[in-house]
Amino acid sequence: MSVIGVIEYGSGNLGSVLRALQKAGANARVIDAPEKIQEVGRLLLPGVGSFADCARLLEQGGWPDALRAAVQSDGKPLLGICLGMQLLASASDEGVSDEQDSAQSAGLGLIPGQVRHLQDQGCSLRVPHVGWNSVQLSGQPDALFDGIPPGTDVYFAHSYAFVPEDPSHILATTDYGVDVVAAVGHDQVMGTQFHPEISSRAGFRLLRNFAEAKAC
């Protein structure tokens, strides 16, 4: 099993992520500079934050090109969690106002799609969507949810959600008044809107699945 590099770019609940990976039996370490990507076999992009801010932090740290190269040229599996999943998208509505230029909302573009506010997706319930909600698997073949049956409760905490351009990139959804994308996958790039690191045993299982997922 290759080492998982947890990307430290100034955001994310790194403490919880590292402990959960260890608990899941994965070999993980923090990587705080893009050149260290070569030391690891797979990558985890955490995220607790606002899209525009985190996209800017990634940019400042020189991460976007390095991450795209690691995934697209070297075939390293990448898992984005919560905002880390949203950052896989092409762009986000979050943090965009008239005064700001659109570059601020650009994501990594690893999975085509937009990140939109839950209310703009038709959700009329309380936002943020916080707490345990059950995942419905879309039936796409994927190893991430091995051993995790449909209906399993996992922990969400978010106001925005990913809307992939290609529905076949949706691995799972959850019901919050509307269908909210709970997990995406495109080749070796994966993302979960929920937080496996604080979803107890179901989360450990998912992290272990990622740690053992075949690299391309």
Partner: protein, 257 residues
């Protein structure tokens, strides 16, 4: 469907956990670490850990202790107490917190809510609102662990906290705190009806039925309790079963490996 969360609240003072009545008469209830470990083993939905004396000093939050406490915690952990600056939040997240709760500092400098929400997202900021109700029924927000009147009206302050970027409200009735006589349902209803963010009911929970009432009658998204878990035989798992029996959606614990 989103599940209603049952959240044990842990109040931390110097070397251990305490619990009082009406934010006073604190009694020791045990050490922090083993308690977190037990709740983690029982797979509670979430934990709130508040350092109740942190606001008295001007020191940073105790990152080292939070780091220790986080070692055995794999459920969402909200940490509160002594947070006065946005840069402290990144260190708390690094130490094992998943969210932070703001109280005293947010009254002194309400922009703090926005600064943290801009940086870490609304879902990372819980506005903790402690409310006293006088004999005539007038309500007021209190800071400094219930000891300082702020002049703020709870409904107006809850709306302001939401507008400034808070993602949740932890609403505590100071009079009900520790009494186990039941949540202040009219108070909770006044806030759940005023804001569009989730509200966690706290203060007074003493039985499973109280929790059912807070959810079904007052619209709470989550229920927090301390005394009933510290001092009675009732447990978060028991609460989950009772809420389910009353028709409230609760989490099903994953039993796979």
């Amino acid at each position: 469907m989103l599940k209603v969360r049952i959240i044990p609240t842990l109040l931390w003072k110097q070397f251990g956990l305490v619990k009082g009545v009406g934010f006073d008469s604190w009694r020791r209830v045990g050490p922090v670490l083993p308690t977190i470990k037990v709740y983690n083993t029982r797979e509670v939905d979430e934990l709130i850990l508040v350092d109740i004396v942190a606001h008295e000093g001007d020191e940073d939050p105790d990152y080292e202790s939070i780091d220790d406490f986080g070692q055995d915690c794999f459920v969402p952990l909200t940490v509160g107490g002594g947070i006065t600056r946005a840069d402290q939040v990144q260190r708390l997240l690094r130490a094992g917190a998943d969210k932070v709760s703001l109280n005293t500092a947010s009254y002194l400098r309400p922009e703090l809510i926005t600064e943290i929400a801009d940086r870490h997202g609304a879902q990372c900021v819980t506005a903790s609102i402690d409310v006293r109700t006088d004999p005539e029924g007038a309500r007021e927000c209190y800071s400094c662990a219930g000891s300082a009147a702020t002049g703020r009206n709870p409904v107006a302050w809850a709306r302001e906290a939401e507008a400034r970027g808070a993602g949740e409200i932890l609403l505590t009735s100071i009079e009900r705190d520790g009494t186990m006589e039941g949540y202040d349902l009219p108070l909770i209803e006044s806030i759940t009806g005023a804001v569009g963010i989730p509200v966690i009911a706290a203060g007074g929970g003493g039985s499973y039925q109280h929790m059912v009432d807070a959810v079904l009658e007052a619209g709470a998204s989550a229920v927090a309790a301390a005394s009933m878990f510290h001092f009675t035989e009732q447990t978060p798992a028991g609460a989950r079963a009772a809420l389910a029996a009353a028709g409230v959606p609760v989490r099903t614990v994953f039993t796979g490996a």
